[in-house]
Amino acid sequence: MLYLLLLIPLMPLLGFIILTFAGRRLPQSTAGMIGCGSVGLAMLSAFSLILGFFTRHPEGHDINQVYWTWLRAGGFSADFGLYLDPLSLLMVLVVTAIGFLIHIYSLGYMAEDEGFRRFFAYMNLFVFSMLVLVLADNLLLLYLGWEGVGLCSYLLIGFWYQDPANGRAARKAFIVTRVGDTGMAIGLFILFYQFGTLNIQSILHRAPNNWVMGSSIAFVVAVLLVMGAVGKSAQLPLQTWLPDAMAGPTPVSALIHAATMVTAGVYLIARTHPIFLLSPAAMHLVAVIGTITLLLAGFSALVQSDIKRVLAYSTISQIGYMFLALGVGAWSATMFHFMTHAFFKALLFLGAGAVIHALHHEQNLFRMGGLKEKLPVVYFTFLAGAASLSALPLISAGFYSKDQILWNVFSLPQGNYLLFAGAILGAFLTAIYTFRMVFLVFWGTARTEVSRLPGRTMTVPLVILAVFAIAVGLIELPRTMGNFSLFGNFMQSVFPKNAVEHGPISPELLVQLLSSVVILSGLYAAYELFVKNPQKLAALLSRPLIKQIHLFWFSGWGFDWLYNLLFIRPLLFFVRINKEDAVDKIYSGIADISCQLNRLLLRTQTGRIRWYVLASVAGAILFLALAVSL
């Protein structure tokens, strides 16, 4: 059982190593088998852990396993240890299961690509890093995973590196997340400095005793951690990299930039929630960031023309919901929405990938259409994903998870009406842009010919994910309809209980009705604007003010422009005028001295024996002189 835990991250690592070193010699089918098989085995180990998890640890529900110690110096010790509790188990299950399906899908999607083996090597490395990140029992290992997924994200965004634009997108993603990582690293240093240990659990256990409620140190650490989370999860103000990250192959967008990596920030905050509980101000900050982000991204998603960018903005927006939920202390609801989101967003990306694949790399929504008949499997599965994303009442998983967030924001003391209104407005936007996409791609008249149909490796994962995107919500039903709480019970050992369970049922029903009405009216609005009366939309868009807003939203609220003006230009300016500053002098000084020393000392290398003997004798005389004088 304990070694099974180690096996989970180890299998993808092994796959990565084999594919890196022997990839070129393996036939494509074997390489694909290794790539998928390693993640599949990790998934099987993860699933077999569930059983043992419940039977062997009825109390406490967690396993902490230290495999070896890497370094030890004084009180500092860096271990290789894994920690499994319901939170990390959930993450592991989602990462390996969705990862496996996406790997299978990629077999078909990447079949004709030259870099097939490289692709699977990177993907395996990503899965390994992500698993290390969620299973790490100490900050150092967590950071290793954190940077590892960042690296893989960089490698995979720039996977088609021959196009300089892709390289630029990769660099942008790497550098922007680096801004957040810097803050997070400082936060981790403070944690280590304060507690003298790297072990996450002992830090979290000691935090409430060492720090008083609302103390400034807790606030500072929490904000620094939020910085890291905001960068990784593409939230305001570091959200700009994610839409550009769509330059990578679509399975990458599905796995890394929708289902798993971008939720690492959510995981980080959920994992360190005891620190956030000590700082209500930081939690409020998280909620505000989430709300603003979900609205901004929702508006931007409305007007995008690239199908993947719509999905990218919707990812930002959905993670905004998770941040909002974290900020009001709805921990379990956050993780529930994380899980449903992972399923339906992976599904939507893979569906979009199938469309792009079929239309020969056409990504523009306005050049698609009428695919309902030609790609029926893709259509129906995409519809399932869209229903879940827009949280169609009762029939989709997204409804149950989003409803839980809305209700928590409404009822928990940390939530307020402003946040709630934002969340409701976000739900309305989500319904519009989701069905705008569905109508433009699958309805109407065909504008591009279908050049190839998706094979079985691509459709089977779609169907499986579609089933999950509809049904996975049933493991947690609200009090108004069944009050069934499998997920919440599973999570309860990790998170403190929140107080919503008690009290009258009617407000909850009211919130559900309200959100249902809003979502259905969003759906109707999309139908009205994109199917029934497209000319109305065209008339609307021809007005200059609306046109300006459209352009503004299209460019993601002008953040790129703003950052270019505020940071990049001034930085480049300073770099130019400060190319040779005093600090450099120290290093170039060392280099100069070394070179001088080199020139000087090489004169001693004459190659003549008599000179060499002389040097030895001189040394001996020096030693003897020292001996005599002391």
Partner: protein, 470 residues
């Protein structure tokens, strides 16, 4: 000498026995494959004996001359392992030599035996014998193929090593004059240091290193850099642990030598264009780092000594392993009549032979002390020992030197990744199997120890205690 004492000397005697079998084989019926098989089998049996029966050896002292404590046994086994590595890398190198090949193997085994004797010696007589067995085989090995650079290097080494041995003998004589015995003590120390520092190539006795490394055949350089340096290093530690080193002089001498070696080694390596010379200078710097550990012994008694000894041993082990690996790569592209040691020869290796370029990069990373290789752990341990002893000024010098050292390792890696226009000598299309085995062993050891150093450190801490049991 009773049976159990005799039993404890079997690891040494097995190597000697192997040599005794090889000599008549070479005289009677020359067959390179057979001789190679005999020599590798000898080494493997020796390793197996130590591995399986090593725990049965209960006597600490086989005779007046030898100690067979855990430390000696470990290093006998370790040198056998290194000798196996050297033998495996030299197979392809030797294969097409038209002259007699078998004696080369005999000399390798003989030199290894010398190193083993050094590691086990407990007396100046056995020490000197071991040292001379090692040196004399090296004279033969360096000049073995008889080409001009080989002969030049051989003669240089012969003359300079003999001169240093003379100093050393004089020191031993002084020791005898004072004690009336040849057991280790602090008398005659400056002169004994001259001899040892020459073998370790410390400033100012380092001048031979670059010339000999460059002139010697690549597998012989590998031998010098691993077994020869390693054996003298082990002996030095044993001598320091046993001898009374309370005079202030010793520490000042060691500090001067350590600092000078670090600076000279790194500075000289910077702009070299010959990889063997770069590695020669880098070895001077590395031994300088090890002398920093020796200097830290100053403030500590036995308890601190055990800790410092284990750090020194760890560094020595990973350093010799890495060196064997790097010279193994050079050997892969060299033959007895053609050395590929110029930096330019390696231009574009990444594009033509990615696997060996990868190996080389990892070995160089380990020498430079990059994390996840064993070299990093070695450096880390030195730093932690320095911080523990609060020896800040020496640490500062160490840090500066590590940074400077990074330059020339990265320079080699950079050269390998540059575009080549048909520069690479079109030697082997694929690396020979024995060489790959050897390189694979070294590489896996370095990576494993970089990730799990505790597995080896645990052992070293155990046998370091035996150094101090008087």
């Amino acid at each position: 000498m009773n049976t159990s004492e005799l039993f404890s000397l079997i690891p040494l005697m097995m190597v000697g026995g192997g040599i005794l079998i090889l000599i008549p084989v070479a005289a009677w019926k020359r067959n390179f494959q057979l001789a190679f098989a005999i020599s590798t089998t000898t080494i493997i049996f020796d390793l197996a004996f130590i591995f399986i029966k090593g725990s049965c050896i209960k006597v600490d002292r086989a005779s007046m001359l030898f100690k067979t404590d855990a430390c000696a046994l470990f290093f006998i086994g370790f040198f056998a392992f290194l000798a196996l590595g050297v033998l495996l890398i030299s197979y392809e190198y030797l294969k097409n030599f038209p002259g007699n090949k078998e004696e080369f193997l005999i000399l390798i085994l003989l030199g290894t035996l010398g190193g083993m004797v050094l590691a086990a010696s407990n007396h100046f007589a056995s020490f000197f014998l071991g040292l001379e067995i090692l040196s004399v085989s090296l004279y033969g090995l360096i000049a073995y193929f008889g080409r001009q650079p080989h002969l030049e290097a051989g003669v240089k080494y012969l003359i300079l090593a003999s001169a240093s041995s003379a100093f050393l003998l004089f020191g031993v004589a002084l020791n005898y004059a004072q004690c009336g015995r040849l057991i280790f003590s602090g008398y005659g120390l400056p002169l004994i240091f001259v001899g040892l520092f020459f073998k370790l190539a410390l400033v100012p006795f380092h001048l031979w290193t670059a010339d000999v490394y460059e002139g010697a055949p690549a597998p012989v350089t590998a031998f010098i850099a691993s077994i020869s340096k390693g054996a003298v290093g082990v002996f030095l530690l044993r001598y320091i642990a046993q001898g009374s080193m309370n005079s202030q002089l010793v520490w000042i001498t060691i500090a001067i030598v350590a600092i000078a070696s670090m600076f000279v080694g790194n500075a000289c390596a910077l702009l070299q264009n010959n990889i063997k010379r770069i590695l020669a200078y880098s070895s001077i710097a590395h031994i300088g780092y090890m002398m920093v550990i020796i200097y830290l012994f100053k403030n500590y008694g036995d308890v601190g000594g055990i800790r410092l000894s284990s750090i020194m041993f760890f560094y020595l082990i990973i350093y010799t392993l890495t060196n064997l690996g790097t010279f193994g790569i050079i050997t892969a592209y060299s033959r007895w009549n053609q050395e590929m040691a110029s930096l330019d020869d390696y231009r574009g290796l990444y594009w033509k032979q990615p696997v060996s370029a990868m190996f080389f990069t990892i070995f160089l990373f380990s020498l430079a002390g990059m994390p996840l290789t064993a070299g990093f752990v070695g450096k880390f341990l030195i730093f932690s020992a320095g911080i523990w002893s609060q020896c800040w000024w020496l640490l500062l010098i160490l840090v500066v030197n590590s940074v400077v050292g990074l330059y020339y390792y990265l320079r080699i890696i950079l050269t390998m990744s540059q575009e080549a226009e048909g520069r690479l000598v079109p030697l082997p299309v694929r690396l020979p199997v024995p060489l790959l085995i050897s390189l694979g062993l070294m590489l896996s050891a370095i990576l494993y120890l970089g990730i799990r150093p505790d597995s080896l450190l645990h052992w070293i801490q155990y046998f370091s205690q035996s150094l101090y049991s008087r």
